[in-house]
């Protein structure tokens, strides 16, 4: 129905994005065909998967409808660690042309692999990601995701080349140079983590460069959960449109889903990645619209198929048609990961709740961090809040009132009495990749 828009360059159209507009029936049929093939492939080539199938008494022939996916066993992150490095590969090494690995903050890294076909699919879904954000030939895009073992840099890189944009492969780090190149090259789009972009805005300001005066107009941000408040701050301070993208290395890297111009949820490229939402406690599949943990199955991955991979990301599926005309379903933006959750005095708290609380006070999101400690055997939560120009008053009474309002907001939203400390600008460490919000010093 929106076919006439396909050739609108302003919308970032590219023929490869056609699957985003498939009629639902056709899409489901394609998904089922691919599901059968990937389950057969994994069953034949990945021993740990086959063993679990045998345990459950399920065979690939049981996949008759898409709903039959619920018969399959889940996979989880530790499966990748347990089978380190190559135990989950479904292709012989001679067909594998690329390896990526996580940095492995805890224990062994996880390794992911790609055949040539996988890389083509990856470039095509990244193309669809950029297309949805309105990036097209003629754009100059600075790719500040880290290049190397991390999937972000190279994943974005090949998608940008596929769409025909000019790539500036700055990778992460060296913020002053990032700012200089952004200005000198007339960069129109940027990819990085949202927290690093905030750091770039800040540093540009210190260098006397106002991003609003540059040609930069689009940001493609991912690799960490972020909030609407953070988007509002980014868009307001830099004058760009900020898009959320979604992906994880275990599935493919970036390119699992992305926002479109409507900025109302992320379209999942469901012809390649089949989404389900489950109750994380009971593992029961939830109907569309209900919030739970996102589970993904790679429908076309060859080197390393992942069947019903539990992402730990909390979201829900949006079934209403999107105003952009894409037919692939959307997920609500992921503001919470069950991994990020911490428990304090028996209460589950997500960093995003702290963010919501801080934002509610003055309508601006200050830089912050959460410090967990144990004092006299009791868990303590302290939130450090950097005082920026927009929060600063030269009256002590006004600052004390602000302090009180921040502490009340945190308590109201989390149910936890927290200490709030007002700290000087720039006193909280900045990260060049994923922002670190929680500093847990409670030990074991």
């Amino acid at each position: 129905m929106m076919r006439e828009n396909w050739n609108d360059v302003g919308q970032g159209f590219h023929p490869v994005s056609a699957p985003d507009y498939l009629p639902a029936a056709q899409l489901r049929e394609l998904q089922l065909r691919r599901l059968k093939a990937v389950v057969e492939r994994a069953y034949a080539n990945v021993a740990p998967f086959r063993e679990r199938m045998v345990e459950r008494g399920v065979t690939p022939a049981d996949m008759r409808t898409l709903e039959d996916i619920a018969k399959l066993p889940f996979s989880i992150k530790t499966d990748l660690r347990d089978n380190y490095p190559f135990g989950l590969f479904a292709s012989p090494m001679s067909e594998i042309v690329r390896l990526h690995a996580s940095s492995g903050t805890t224990g062994k890294p996880i390794v992911v692999a790609y055949t040539q076909e996988d890389l083509q699919v990856w470039a095509s879904v990244m193309l669809r990601t950029f297309s949805a954000a309105g990036i097209h030939r003629g754009d100059i895009v600075q790719n500040a995701y880290g290049y190397g073992l991390f999937t972000g840099g190279l994943g974005a890189h090949y998608g940008l080349e596929a769409i025909g944009a000019t790539v500036v492969p700055t990778s992460g780090g060296n913020t002053d140079r990032q700012v200089m190149l952004m200005r000198d090259f007339g960069v129109t789009g940027i990819c990085c983590t949202p927290s690093y972009f905030l750091h770039l805005i800040e540093r540009a300001g210190e260098l006397g460069i106002n991003l609003r005066e540059l040609p930069l107009r689009t940001g493609i941000f991912g690799a960490e959960p972020w909030s609407e408040g953070m988007r509002a701050r980014i868009e307001q301070e830099s004058g760009i449109k900020a898009f959320d993208i979604y992906g994880l290395s275990e599935i493919i890297g970036p390119g699992v889903g992305s926002e479109c111009a409507a900025q109302a949820g992320l379209h999942i490229f469901e012809d390649h990645f089949y989404p389900e939402i489950i109750d994380p406690e009971t593992c029961r599949v939830l109907p569309d619209g209900e919030e739970g943990e996102l589970v993904l199955t790679t429908l076309s991955k060859r080197a390393m198929p992942m069947i019903r991979y539990r992402t730990r990301d909390i979201t829900h599926i949006i079934t209403e048609p999107c105003s952009c005309g894409r037919t692939v379903r959307r997920i609500a933006r992921v503001a919470r990961r069950s991994d990020d959750m911490f428990i304090i005095r028996g209460v589950n708290v997500f960093p995003s709740q702290i963010e919501t609380a801080l934002l509610s006070v003055e309508g601006v999101l200050p830089h912050y961090r959460i410090l967990l400690s144990r004092e006299h055997g009791l868990d303590q939560m302290n939130v450090e809040v950097e005082i920026g120009a927009e929060l600063f008053s030269d009256q002590v009474s006004a600052m004390e009132a602000l302090h009180k309002r921040l502490a009340h907001a945190v308590e109201r939203i989390t149910g936890i009495r927290a200490g709030v400390r007002l700290v000087e600008p720039h006193s909280i460490p900045r990260s060049e990749g994923k922002a670190r919000r929680v500093w847990d010093e409670r030990g074991e």
Partner: protein, 143 residues
């Protein structure tokens, strides 16, 4: 005649006060006077500087916030009821005072207080009319 005060936020921990003053000294910005209003956790440092613009730039370059506020410098007669008399006049004129602090008096014989009024323009006008000596920034410089 209003005076531009520069204020900054500092954490209440060792070395922060000194570091802020050092940021000014490094750029050769003279401090006429300063006042620290502090709580257990943080402080607000207020400066009257020889060159407020340069001072603001110096603080910002060192990573501090620097907020400009208009304050009024008032000469206090050197007798027992001097300050009380001025405050009574401000009160009579309906002027709201947010805070005040004393100016350094080392070089001159006159005593001066820095007062932050909610409405500095009206304060200058009302106090001048009642014969209070409102000190111009240039006079502070010569002290």
């Amino acid at each position: 005649m209003k005076v531009t005060q520069i204020s900054t936020f500092i954490e209440n921990r060792p070395g922060r006060l000194h570091a802020a003053c050092a940021a000014l000294a490094d750029r050769g910005v003279n401090i006429h006077t300063l006042s620290l209003a502090d709580t257990a956790e943080f402080g607000i440092l207020r400066f009257v500087l020889a060159d407020p613009a340069a001072g603001k730039a110096a603080l910002e370059a060192a990573g501090y916030l620097a907020k400009e506020t208009e304050v009024v410098a008032v000469e206090v007669p050197d007798d027992a009821g001097g300050l009380a008399d001025i405050l009574a006049k401000a009160d009579a004129a309906g002027l709201n005072i947010e805070y005040m602090y004393a100016f350094s008096m080392a070089a001159g014989r006159r005593a001066v207080v820095i007062i932050r009024f909610t409405d500095p323009d009206r304060a200058v006008e009302a106090l001048s009319q009642q014969g209070v000596n409102v000190v111009a920034p240039v006079e502070l410089l010569s002290r």
